[in-house]
């Protein structure tokens, strides 16, 4: 059986060493963090994936290459809230992540896929699987985000909207996925 490629498709041939590489990892220590950043991202991969668990005191912004112009971003959300499904969209840097609050017992789990992140001919699309459950509350979502820039992605920043903190034990791992 061929192993599963990180983006959810069966790959032929099997992944070789170096096809899915760890680039950088950030784990938030005691006291929390005001932001998490991945910088100097090499352009040698085809796609990026960030795998995370996190809590924060607010919703979070996500920005690329320090671009904080809200009109350059758009997101779509399809979520399940336990009693009903919901669809929505937002203009701006609001990261399409379902966030567990700092007082929650369970962390949010997030998998971001940034497709063709270094392609100078395309705007950048982010696909997200995200959710948290708190045994009686919680939400799960399939979301996406657009960054309207053809620049290669060299930096990704994640920070709470209100300027507060990302909780201790939150962990973010950036991976690069090679194409042929």
């Amino acid at each position: 059986m061929s192993p599963l490629a990180p983006l959810g498709f069966f790959a032929h041939p099997p992944l070789a060493a170096g096809d899915f590489e760890s680039i950088s990892t950030v784990t938030v220590g005691a006291g929390g963090a005001s932001s998490v950043s991945f910088s100097s991202i090499p352009s040698t991969f085809k796609h990026l994936q960030i795998r995370a668990i996190m809590k924060a005191s607010d919703s979070i912004y996500m920005s690329f290459n320090s671009d904080t112009t809200n009109s350059n971003y758009y997101s779509h959300w399809l979520t399940g809230q336990g009693s009903s499904a919901s669809a929505s969209s937002f203009a701006g840097r609001l990261a399409p992540v379902i966030m567990a609050g700092t007082g929650a017992s369970g962390f949010s789990a997030v998998i971001w896929d940034v497709l063709d992140y270094a392609d100078a001919n395309k705007y950048k699309t982010v696909r997200v699987l995200t959710g948290h459950d708190q045994n009686g509350s919680g939400e799960v979502g399939l979301t996406s985000m657009l960054w309207k820039s053809t620049s290669a992605t060299t930096q990704i920043d994640i920070a709470p909207v209100s300027g507060s903190s990302i909780s201790q034990y939150s962990s973010f791992a950036l991976y690069g996925i090679r194409g042929e």
Binding site: M1, P3, L4, P6, G8, L15, A16, A17, G18, D19, F20, E21, S22, I23, S24, T25, R51, A52, I53, L78, T79, G80, Q81, G82, S83, S84, A85, S105, G106, F107, S108, A109, V110, I111, L129, T130, G131, H132, D133, Q134, N135, G136, G138, E139, V140, G141, L142, Y169, S171, A173, Y175
Partner: protein, 162 residues
């Protein structure tokens, strides 16, 4: 170069079983991904589920998002005895991709994400919580009303962050 994304174990069933377990999972990775392609030996659609570290207590919960082909909806289970997996049938194979981020972290409860699609019924996204800070060392897949058919496959991958 050491591989970041490694197969840990895989099996293709040579005989039907009611449950399948990955045991003795090493704690040396950052995340686990389990891929299940399975169908029932016989019978109509029924639930399948997962348990961790042989824990069958009421220590799980979930929130799910689904589409049936005619509508979208959401549901929830609290104080459940397992991770809800949704329907599995004896006709088309179910495809489960189960993500266990930071599975060996002993400071946090475990949040599990599932994408699956029992073809004849729904497309699904599920988030589940296991209220235990223990590292995950075993994962058991179970179908209570039938058996996993011959040819069903279960594969576990480990992802190691820098």
């Amino acid at each position: 170069m050491a591989s970041t994304y490694e197969p840990i174990a895989t099996t293709t069933l040579g005989s039907a079983v009611a449950s399948y377990t990955f045991s003795s999972i090493p704690g040396t990775y950052t995340d686990l991904i389990m891929v299940v392609s399975a169908k029932l030996t016989s019978g109509g659609a029924t639930n399948h589920y997962y348990t961790l570290n042989s824990d069958t207590g009421s220590n799980y919960s979930y929130t799910r998002l689904y589409g049936t082909g005619s509508s979208a909806g959401s549901g929830r289970g609290s104080n459940t005895t397992n991770i809800f997996g949704g329907d599995i049938t004896s006709t088309e194979p179910l495809a489960d991709i189960v993500q266990f981020n930071n599975y060996a972290n002993t400071s946090t409860y475990k949040t599990i994400l599932i994408r699956n699609n029992p073809v004849t019924s729904t497309v699904h996204a599920i988030v589940s919580l296991w209220r235990n800070t223990a590292a995950i060392t075993s994962i058991t897949a179970t179908t209570p009303s039938s058996t996993f058919a011959v040819g069903s496959t279960f594969t576990l991958y480990g992802i190691k962050a820098a």
